[in-house]
């Protein structure tokens, strides 16, 4: 086995002697990568960050409905994050049973798992407080005239997301409490009778059910996937509408699809469990619901694609990211279908194909949408544009590299290569044919990292030195651009806005400009 180039030298001898990672350390990194990116990265950024900043501005609200609960939500997140990261320094290191924390492995794991559970309880509390705040804000604080069918798509998708967070997270909280009891109080909720660990019978009371954990976990974690993707779709819809300079195609189908998708996401969870022996009847039910839930996703994606038809597109940096989202999310979504069908999942389960599918959804999917959102709303938050040239280098570099990282995973997975192999499969006969892809993937990952430096530099440089933007930086119709200064002051709006129009009135015939803000009063010509 070869040592990891460059960074291998900086890893401690306890974790990676000679630069070669020990399996235990690899497992920690795997488990914590998933946890950190999902619960401390994407959700706080997409919902806590964008939702909190953009949503009140788009609905014409002075603030969130409960500013103190907002604060409490942030601090719960902060403490939860500290607990999670601190667990790396415990004896035995951080949690190492995968981000799914499957039992009984997780119950018998090192103390890092207990901290993981405590951290999760705090992070869940944070999401819970945030989500109820979002729902109340959207229902109660909409500006006069802003009816539900005039809401920007982003607000709609945040609303559905908030419901998912509100109702799907508590079962994981329950599951975390039960696992905590198993670990700390010695109960056997998830431990079957006569469990043998390392050749010895565990002296537990038994009678527990390992499948119970998986049901509770995926009952959260499948809606969680939609929590990761819906805000991203919302951002893409906003950026797209602004840069195609015409109304989005299919506003209502998108809204109804999102609501339907929200409901359906609660009845698909066991498609992660086809191989657990839960029975063919259950599998048949869950693969059917899984096929049904793909329909609203396709409706949303198709509406966004069709919106491009006949548009005169402005290829700004946010638009490039938003445009890249469409095919990338398309690949991620379509490769999910074979995983949602029990017969094909038998072959693909737990292979690199799963990793490729999931990362196409959240990396060039959600993350690209988040980049689009940052480039798009940066002038609102700071009053300055980000640099276009650096932005375009960042985009093209990331776009090429990220595909080299994730696309070979489909090939590896189809060849039968497992995930969670600490040596990259080099010691396993069945992985030999596909392991050669590790090298280009690894190099592309380093290059991908390097291209993010352009973004980081651009971000901080533009705060001070970027080109100044007018308050409506992109000639947009929605309230955050049309009615609030950049950056918005405390209270957001100089005077409470009133809404007269739908969200995306771009290029309305007969109007002097190619955009008509939502707060522009109707004239005789409109009627």
């Amino acid at each position: 086995m070869q040592p990891i180039p460059i960074i291998g030298a900086y890893l401690s001898a306890a974790n990676a002697p000679g630069g070669v990672m020990l399996p235990e350390f690899y497992n920690q990194l795997g488990a914590m990568h998933g946890t950190i990116m999902v619960f401390m990265g994407v959700v706080p950024l997409a919902v806590g960050g964008f939702g909190n900043f953009v949503m009140p501005l788009q609905i014409g609200a002075p603030d969130m409905a409960f500013p103190r609960i907002n604060m409490a939500s942030y601090w719960a997140y902060f403490v939860g994050g500290v607990v999670m990261l601190a667990s790396f320094f415990l004896p035995g290191g951080a949690a190492n049973s995968g981000w799914t924390s499957y039992v009984p492995l997780a119950v018998t794991a090192t103390v890092g798992q207990t901290w993981w559970l405590l951290g999760m309880v705090l992070l869940i509390t944070s999401s819970l407080l945030g989500s109820l705040n979002f729902i109340v804000t959207i229902f109660q604080l909409r500006a006069p005239g802003l009816t539900f069918m005039r809401l920007p798509i982003f607000v709609w998708l945040q609303l559905v997301t908030a419901y998912l967070l509100l109702l799907a997270f508590p079962p994981l909280e329950a599951a975390a409490v039960l696992q905590l009891m198993d670990r700390v109080a010695g109960t056997s909720f998830f431990l079957p009778s006569g469990l043998v660990v390392s050749g010895q019978i565990l002296g537990n009371s038994g009678g527990g059910n390992p499948l119970l954990w998986q049901h509770l976990f995926w009952f959260l974690a499948h809606p969680e996937v939609y929590v990761l993707i819906l805000p991203a779709m919302g951002i893409v819809a906003e950026v797209l509408a602004n840069n195609i300079r015409k109304p989005l195609w299919g506003y209502k189908p998108v809204v109804y699809s999102a609501i339907f998708l929200g409901f359906m996401s609660f009845v698909v969870w066991a498609h992660h469990m086809f191989l657990t022996g839960m029975g063919t009847t259950m599998s048949a039910f869950f693969q059917t619901t899984t096929m049904i839930i793909s329909i609203p996703s396709v409706v949303i994606l198709t509406s966004l694609f069709l919106s491009l038809w006949g548009a005169s597109i402005r290829f700004t940096t946010p638009m490039l990211f938003a445009l890249a989202f469409l095919p990338m999310f398309g690949i991620g979504g379509l490769t999910g279908l074979p995983l949602g069908l029990a017969p094909t999942d038998i072959h693909l389960h737990d292979t690199y194909y799963v990793i490729g599918h999931f990362h196409y959804v959240v990396a060039p999917g959600t993350l690209f949408a988040l980049f689009a959102g940052i480039y798009y709303w940066f002038p609102k938050a700071t009053g300055r544009y980000m640099n276009e040239l650096l932005g375009k280098i960042h985009f093209w570099g990331s776009f090429v590299c990220i595909n080299i990282v994730f696309f070979p995973m489909f090939i590896q997975g189809l060849a039968g290569m497992n995930r969670r192999l600490y040596d990259g499969g080099i010691q396993y006969a069945h992985a030999q044919t596909a392991a050669k892809w590790n090298m280009p993937m690894g190099h592309a990952a380093f290059a991908l990292w390097a291209f993010q430096l352009f973004f980081i530099f651009n971000f901080f440089w533009s705060i001070k030195k970027g080109r100044r933007s007018p308050s409506n930086a992109w000639d947009a119709t929605t309230l955050e651009w049309a009615a609030a200064p950049s950056p918005p002051p405390h209270g957001n709006f100089p005077e409470p806005p009133v809404v007269y129009r739908e969200a995306y009135e771009y290029s309305v015939p007969g109007h002097p400009r190619d955009f008509t803000p939502q707060n522009e009063p109707e004239t005789k010509r409109d009627k």
């Binding site: 002075p62 603030d63 409905a65 109660q140 329950a174 109080a185 009371s205």
Partner: protein, 196 residues
């Protein structure tokens, strides 16, 4: 800058912010306890032997606690009703009464728990006791949470009555909604754990 509808209801939803907030919070609580009750079902259905609650647990004490909690819900409603009729002192005593009943509940629970521990019955003894302690323990935490809010309302938080009586009344109302939920959870817990 004022946030709208903190006290008065928004015409199209018919709710003030706090009330919608507490209903959403309770919805998530339903999911929390729903998940735990579902776990109970799954564990019980899958178990080879499952002790009947009456053989291990003390039904008279639990019945006493049921009476105590239902009474505390009554005093909670009376507190809100008194504020609506502008009788602040009466409301305050009702809140204190609710607080005392809640403490009574915890005292009874304490005796129940210590009796179990004295007989060597702990969460790790078997799955029935595990789910019993988890469910009642989590419910007990909810009782404590409610008591903290009540203590604030009849203690330092009572000043608000003089400056913003409507807002104070709303606070008591949503605390009441929460308290009835805690009561309701117990009304499910009692038969599920003790009687069935």
């Amino acid at each position: 800058m004022d946030i709208p509808y903190t006290v008065t209801a928004r015409p199209d939803t018919g709710l003030y912010n706090g009330k919608l907030g507490i209903w959403l919070f309770l919805a998530s609580e339903v999911m929390l306890f729903g998940a735990l009750f579902s776990s109970y079902l799954l564990l019980r259905v899958g178990a080879e032997v499952w002790p009947r609650g009456e053989t291990i647990l003390n039904i008279p004490m639990a019945f006493l606690n049921t009476v105590i909690l239902i009474s505390s819900s009554v005093t909670m409603v009376l507190a809100w009703a008194s504020l609506k009729m502008n009788q602040f002192q009466k409301a305050r005593w009702c809140l204190i009464g609710t607080f005392l009943l809640a403490s009574g509940f915890l005292v009874v629970k304490f005796f129940e728990y210590s009796e179990k521990f004295a007989h060597g019955l702990a969460p790790k003894t078997n799955t029935f006791l595990a789910i019993y302690f988890t469910l009642t323990g989590l419910h007990g935490l909810h009782v404590v949470g409610g008591m903290v809010v009540m203590a604030f309302l009849f203690g330092p938080g009572a000043k608000m009555w003089r400056v913003a009586p409507e807002r104070y009344t709303n606070r008591v109302e949503i605390t009441g909604l929460y308290w009835h939920f805690v009561d309701l959870v117990w009304i499910f817990l009692f038969p599920v754990l003790y009687l069935l």
